[in-house]
Amino acid sequence: MIEYAVFFFFAAIAVIFALVVILHRNPVVGALSLVASFFALAVMYVLLDAPFLAALQVIVYAGAIMVLFLFVIMLLNLQKQAEEPTRPVQQFVGYAGSAAFGIALVYYLSKYVVLELPASPFVADARTVGVALFESYIFPFEMVSILLLAAIVGALVLSGRGVQTS
């Protein structure tokens, strides 16, 4: 009973703040609302018996990635720009496309979703995740680390362009 109440409350928070992200004019308010939405998602993970994943969601997404977003938004000093009003054709295609996508998503999810947790007792703590990462999934793990290295090198190269070396 209690978990229904918690679930609906945090689901409402996630949806409302996601709507604020899309609809608000101010990008800083949007970024902070996205943080609130991620926090609500982390609560969902806790409800699904995965506190490790919830903590990781907050540390990585809300704590590092969104801070970076906020930096960029604040340093760029984006002003509210006046956009030209959208034409009726654009509006119709936009609404129709999103509605079709939403209906298809709900339909396929309700057909294929699994409504219960796996039957065998599973523990989703750091030890099992670590063991799985370093035993079964070692190859994707190393590939992801190379991908991150490529991203870092790319960022360094891009930011170093135009710097005069003396």
Partner: protein
């Protein structure tokens, strides 16, 4: 899931009340300690008018905060300006939920009273998560004040905080490797044992007393100074350069909230250093019995250790000059981060050879 047990809920509410009450009372005490302590270090007297030894100065300050005019600058963002102090306060108050502050003991009904608000399996990760959230208070305050100096202070401080978060996390990992678990209660229980030297001398197995942990302890403490924006890392509030940094435009109660959140964060981070490196609630050379008296003694030991650490925070503030910003960032990335990473390997070596 299991049904809710009413006694559990009542005990949890009691524990939350104790912990939050203690944290909220840290601020007036620390204000007095800071002002008299800084006066002692600077060879002057400090506040001594408002009561014996100036003990009621905090009450006078609180009354001042209640009665001051609350000025909102023109052009400040209506919502974020008021919400920013709360973003700063919430992580500081909630992090203490996973820190054990006393020895568990059985109540008369047989139920074990665990003096920790939330004994989750991944305790330390929640602390890292909430530490990352504390950046938002400063960054939002700096931006929402519509003041260029505040914005600079906010951005600088958040860059510093996310840099030192990395060093802090990696240094904490060394302490967790010794305990073999992410749960802070396990970390403390591991430190209640003893190292036996030459078969006679028993040294309490606190992490700070084992040589492989000296470096992580120093790295964690320095990173804790950086996380709470205390000198020598307080570029966000540098009085000479940035007026008052991110809280320039805040007055009266909102400034009081920032003030409070800084001291509460200091207390929380001291509690963390105590738990990870100083043995938590363990009294050295004394096996606390699992009774109410044992619990009280262990809680008192915890409080004393946290108090000593906070005194060290105040002491360092008035001893070491402020680091220049680029030096601060360089030291954070090029010195502390490699030290913490190398030490993880060192601790792994010690554990493999069973020296710890």
């Amino acid at each position: 899931m299991a049904e809710i047990d009413k006694v559990d809920v009542a005990l949890s509410i009691l524990k939350i009340a104790i912990v939050v009450g203690a944290l909220l009372n840290v601020t007036p005490i620390m204000v007095w300690v800071e002002r008299r302590g800084s006066a002692l270090i600077q060879d002057r007297v400090g506040p001594n008018r408002v009561g014996p030894f100036g003990l009621f100065q905090s009450l006078a300050d609180a009354a001042k905060f209640f009665l001051k005019e609350d000025i909102v600058p023109l052009g400040a963002h209506k919502w974020l300006y008021s919400l920013a102090p709360m973003f700063g306060l919430i992580p500081a108050l909630t992090t203490i939920a996973v820190v054990p502050w006393g020895r568990p003991f059985p109540l008369r009904s047989g139920r074990i009273f665990e003096p920790i608000v939330a004994d989750v399996n991944v305790g330390i990760l929640l602390i890292f998560a909430l530490a990352s959230l504390s950046v938002y208070g400063i960054v939002t305050a700096g931006w929402a004040s519509n003041n260029k100096y505040s914005l600079f202070g906010g951005i600088r401080s958040s860059a510093q905080m996310i840099s030192y978060e990395l060093a802090m996390t990696l240094a904490a990992i060394s302490a967790l490797m010794v305990a073999g678990s992410l749960r802070l209660t396990d970390v403390v229980w591991k430190q209640t044992g003893y190292f036996v030297l030459f078969d006679t001398i028993k040294i309490p197995a606190w992490n700070i007393l084992s040589p492989a942990m000296w470096i992580p302890c120093i790295v964690f403490t320095v990173a804790a100074f950086a996380e709470t924006n205390r000198l020598p890392f307080d570029f966000a509030e540098a009085e000479a350069e940035l007026v008052a940094g991110y809280h320039t435009e805040y007055s009266s109660m909102k400034f009081a909230l920032f003030f409070m959140s800084e001291y509460i964060a200091m207390a929380t981070v001291s509690a963390l250093i105590t738990t990870l490196f100083l043995g938590g609630w363990d009294i050295p050379w004394y096996n606390e019995p699992a009774t109410f008296l044992g619990f009280l003694l262990s809680a008192a030991a915890f409080t004393i250790k946290v108090g000593i650490l906070m005194l060290i925070f105040v002491w360092v503030r008035w001893t070491i000059p402020r680091l220049k910003y680029d030096i601060l960032m360089r030291v954070g990335w090029k010195v502390f981060l490699p030290l913490a990473v190398i030490n993880i390997l060192l601790v792994a070596l010690f554990i493999a050879k069973e020296w710890i």
